[in-house]
Amino acid sequence: MTSSGFIDRLKTGLWYENPGLVQLLGLCPVLAVTSSFVNGLGLGIATLVVLVASNGLVSTTRRWIRAEIRIPIYVLIIASLVTCIELIFKAWFPALDRSLGIFIPLIVTNCAIVARAEVFAARNPVGASLVDGFVMGSGFAILLMAVGAFRELLGQGSLFARMDMLLGGEPMRGLVFTDGGWLLAILPPGAFFSLALAIAAKNALDRRRHEKLKRAMPRRA
């Protein structure tokens, strides 16, 4: 794949077809764990790793798998990978594992992963599938981090608190701007509002760019 091809794929995963923002896949984790930046980052990384590995495995085995049994096989592959990731989190990031709780095993049910296996990895070579897993996983992870940072900032008045859960060492308070914050932001409704704002912002940006393009090239439009 050429480098411009990779950049195009990256743009697709991060923006035009972002699994969370545009395809609205895997909303359960997006809404549930994004009460802080570190939670979003942790689950984002876990999902990214699972997505790259599952795309790789599905693509490698795609020639031997009959269409009738492909879904059980995807489920097997994804469930095994998630179990491995869970064990690795428990071993090396125990605090983060505690904080994310059930949402690590629930990556199995993240439809973004099955969707990429079915839509992309099952019909494309290994290299392209790995790239696809990486760009889609990154798009998802960045959304989790952005919503997490936004909610943490509004709800607790801090940013990057408890990064020690990923980095190790003493508990870190992160950047503290105020003591306490707007409670609604870290409650479940805050998750819906934040995601809605993110989607609205993306659509507004897209529309503005579209209109600019139209004005620049009136004859072609």
């Binding site: 009460s35 009738e68 491995c84 690795i88 428990k90 125990p94």
Partner: protein, 216 residues
């Protein structure tokens, strides 16, 4: 689907299942020791808030008693008691109990009681209280639980074991009165239990030695 096709599908599924199982088994082997060490460390660390200022020997978690329900301690699930010793003499007992009447479900708390019946520390282990209101009982969010350090059944007198709004002596949390009430009640009931059972608690053999006796 023809028989050959079914067979082929079955074999493919079995092969992939075997590979996936091997992958999980290998990861498990790789992480097992670290996970166990982490859980032990987490347990020891979660007991620390009730041990501050005490001198004690070795590992507290070895002297664990599990009290199955029904029992007179707070909560309807199993309570755990850790005995703390220094040179063979009892120093304190740590109780892991549940305050049943939290705002949203039981609150798991750790209460340390020294041999004089004084609270050595209280720490909230698990809860589902409202973020920003009831969750200030967590020691990382406010020092509300610190007010119980050094208290006992006679300090304050029985009537004082309540939040100020209810005529007691303990601070309340703005916007959350159910949570503090539940915790105060659980601490007081733990102290009452300790007062009534202190001899048995330290006389009882540990859960581990129990298992050894039962083994053939």
């Amino acid at each position: 689907m023809k028989d050959a096709a079914i067979l082929k599908s079955g074999v493919t599924l079995a092969a992939i299942a075997a590979i996936c199982t091997a992958l999980v088994a290998f990861t498990f082997q790789l992480t097992e020791e670290r996970i166990e060490a982490n859980e032990q460390a987490w347990l020891e660390r979660s007991l620390q808030p009730a041990l501050s200022g005490l001198f004690y020997d070795g590992s507290v978690t070895e002297s664990k008693i599990i009290v199955p329900p029904p029992h007179e301690l707070p909560g309807s699930d199993a309570a755990i008691i850790y005995r703390v010793y220094a040179q063979g003499a009892p120093v304190a007992a740590l109780f892991v109990v549940s305050a049943r009447d939290g705002y949203s479900g039981p609150i798991r708390i750790l209460v340390g009681v020294d041999t004089k019946g004084t609270v050595t520390g209280v720490h909230v282990l698990e809860h589902r209280e409202t973020p920003g209101l009831g969750d200030r009982v967590e020691s990382t969010k406010s020092d509300w639980v610190a007010q119980f350090d050094g208290r006992s059944l006679v300090d304050p007198e029985p009537g004082g074991w309540a939040i100020k709004g209810d005529g007691g002596q303990f601070d309340q949390l703005t916007g959350a009165s159910v949570t503090p009430r539940a915790i105060i009640k659980a601490i007081r009931n733990t102290l009452l239990y300790y007062d009534a059972h202190r001899v048995e608690i330290f006389a009882e053999v540990t859960a581990e030695s129990n298992e050894e006796e039962e083994a053939p």
